[in-house]
């Protein structure tokens, strides 16, 4: 008898509101380890809300449902413990962290995660050597490691900086929220290469994107369309191509994964 492991991420009937407005009505989805799911949807459909709610942002109030990561209930954990459990959410607009050098920020984060995993902390020299090499691979200028986090970075540099953190933190599940916006062609190639490398190591991905070119290259296992706070359609690359051709045509009936 074969045993099928449960999906890495299991979201059931997740309901989220921001203030008085309910943004996610009822979201259900499964993401197995190493899988890649593309999440598409019109503006305001709730894609970013899903990421922020899973990440534990206090402005996104969970009204019900469940989100398990590796069997662990994410929704009862504070934000940092969700991250230490292996959840990485890249920000659509990564904020400035004034005065905090990028390399210090990333090393502090990395060591917090290492500590949670029972791994020894990285010293500054070891960290910097690895960070420089990874930054080079991602096309992020090395000088940005010594500058305050995201301060004065271009849109593309901010996104590459998210990729750098993703590459170093090596999470179990990464939700990339429009990681390709503001990226040039080389940047998109860097995203694809990194995602493929991490998938091969078992990292699962939820990728929010509007652009077919990158989605094609990512070779997703599933494409989901989010509409009015629910998963309205589930499909494969053909769904992404249809959306690219015809836009987000509302379907009369909602479907779940």
């Amino acid at each position: 008898m074969t045993h099928t492991p449960p999906p890495l991420l299991q979201v059931r009937d997740l309901r989220v509101r921001i203030g008085e407005r309910t943004v996610l009505q009822s979201v259900c989805l499964d993401v197995p380890a190493g899988a890649l799911v593309v999440l598409m949807g019109a503006n305001g459909s709730g894609k970013s809300t899903l990421g922020m709610a899973l990440a534990g942002h206090s402005s996104y109030q969970v009204g019900g449902g469940q989100a398990l990561l590796g069997g662990q209930d994410l929704l009862v954990l504070p934000a940092h413990e969700r991250a230490r459990a292996g959840l990485f959410v890249s920000f659509q607009s990564p904020p400035d962290v004034p005065g905090v050098k990028n390399n210090l920020f990333i090393r502090t984060a990395l060591n917090a995660v290492h500590e949670a995993r029972g791994q020894p902390p990285l010293d500054a020299f070891d960290f910097l050597a690895g960070a420089k090499q990874t930054a080079k691979e991602l096309g992020l200028p090395e000088a940005l490691l010594g500058r305050p986090v995201n301060e004065g970075f271009s849109g593309g540099e901010r996104k590459r900086n998210e990729l750098l953190q993703l590459a170093l933190l090596q999470p179990r599940l990464a939700l990339l929220d429009e990681i390709d916006s503001g990226m040039d062609v080389d940047g998109v190639r860097a995203v694809v290469a990194l995602v493929q490398r991490l998938r091969a190591q078992g990292t699962a991905f939820i990728v929010v994107s509007h652009y077919l070119t990158m989605i094609e290259q990512l070779q997703p296992d599933a494409v989901l369309r989010l509409d009015q706070g629910r998963i309205a359609e589930t499909g494969d690359m053909e769904l992404a191509r249809r959306i690219a051709r015809t836009g987000f045509v509302r379907q009369p009936q909602a479907a779940e994964v």
Binding site: G56, P78, H80, A83, P95, V97, V100, V113
Partner: protein, 398 residues
């Protein structure tokens, strides 16, 4: 009676006649200083001086240093030579009290050494008696460039003190001074530091202050830009886990094309009480003056009192001036970002506070290298923040 004794007696008589700082004083009414007797020891019973007082780090070429005894008439005359008599302003009683109590001082002269780069000095002061009035006189020669780190740090091995410190700093034409000051008294110390700074034409002065609270803590700077093209930047980082601090910055632009920037960041919690005053006066004839004041107060926890008082007095038309005061929280976006990357609440807050503090100091002093960079990256800020602010864990659930 010798001239030193006569000078001391005259100062005491002046204080007796004119009295101490009025409680309704504009500058001091938010945090009135302790009464005059706290700042005066009885000279006849003055204990012998103990401890090092002013100590200067490793010698640097181009520096002349003289430790002078203010009770010796000849040395007192040398120590006070060229310094103004205490006047009649709001803070003058402190200056008179200083004259009455001052027993020692250090005079430093920094010569220009253009071929060797900046002269780097580390100056530390450790109290020598329970009530004292140390004096520092620093002359930076025309064209000289000096980096000075001046520290006054708490020491649990000594008793609480009342310290009325005065420093007179004069920058010659084209001189430059990058001045980092650390003032972290014991919780039960009463401390009043008065800096009097004069800038000749083209001189450049940058003062970054990092200070913590105590039972009374005054940091008062009066900077006069006397020559055309002089510029002064002042940044104050006030870290208050408790106690109080009164930071007063007075800047007087008296010539054309002068620049002044004043920035304060007060981070406080509990029942701490901080007052930040910035007063800048642009005198008639100060063509092209450029003045900025930015005061920021961030209450971190509890119910601290943060009073921010920017003030401009503009007596000339052709100037640029801006000022503002902001009360606010730590940047929520940055805090959440750090937590999403695995930092717990306390670590995220500490990192962001340290970043804000670092940014403030670097804006004033420049990223720099050598001594300043060494200090800025020494971990002092992280330790001070941990000691003073004890960020609290406040787990948030989405």
């Amino acid at each position: 009676m010798d001239s030193a004794q006569a000078d001391i007696l005259a100062a005491r008589e002046h204080l007796r006649d004119q009295g101490w700082i009025a409680r309704r004083s504009e500058a001091f009414h938010h945090l009135p200083p302790p009464a005059l007797p706290d700042w005066l020891a009885l000279h006849d019973d003055a204990p012998p001086l103990d401890g090092p007082g002013w100590t200067l780090g490793q010698g640097a070429s181009g520096v002349q240093a003289r430790w002078l005894d203010a009770l010796d008439p000849a040395q007192r005359a040398e120590l006070l030579a060229g310094l103004p008599r205490p006047g009649e302003g709001e803070a003058a009683p402190f200056a008179w009290a200083h004259r009455a109590l001052c027993r020692e001082g250090l005079r430093l002269h920094v010569a220009a050494t253009p071929q060797r780069g900046p002269v780097c000095l580390q100056l530390h002061h450790r109290p020598r008696t329970r009530a004292e009035a140390p004096l520092l006189v620093l002359d930076i020669a025309p064209g000289a460039h000096c980096v000075l780190i001046e520290t006054h740090e708490a020491d649990a091995t000594r008793p609480a003190v009342a310290q009325n410190l005065h420093a007179h700093i004069r920058l010659g034409q084209g001189a430059r001074l990058q001045h980092l000051r650390i003032a972290t008294p014991r919780a039960d110390d009463r401390v009043a530091h008065h800096l009097h700074v004069e800038l000749a034409a083209g001189a450049d002065y940058a003062q970054a202050l990092a200070a913590t609270g105590s039972s009374y803590h005054l940091q008062r700077s009066h900077i006069t830009l006397q020559g055309a093209g002089a510029s002064a930047r002042q940044a104050a980082l006030l870290l208050l886990g408790g106690g109080q601090i009164d930071q007063q910055t007075y800047t007087d632009l008296q010539a054309a094309q002068c620049i002044s920037q004043v920035e304060t960041l007060a981070l406080a919690q509990g029942r701490a009480h901080a007052v930040a005053n910035a007063r800048t006066r642009i005198a008639p004839g100060s063509d092209g003056a450029n003045v900025r004041q930015r005061l920021t107060g961030v209450p971190l926890a509890g119910h601290p009192r943060l009073i921010l008082r920017p003030h401009l007095e503009i007596l000339h038309d052709d100037v640029q001036a801006a000022h503002g005061a902001t009360w606010g929280a730590l940047p929520e976006g940055a805090l959440f970002y750090a937590r999403q990357r695995g930092l717990d609440e306390a670590a995220a807050r500490a990192l962001i506070i340290e970043g804000m503090a670092n940014a403030l100091l670097e804006r004033c002093l420049g990223p720099g290298d050598g001594l300043l960079a060494q200090w800025l990256h020494s971990g002092w800020l992280a330790r001070a923040i941990a000691q003073q602010l004890h960020p609290r864990e406040e787990a948030r659930h989405g």
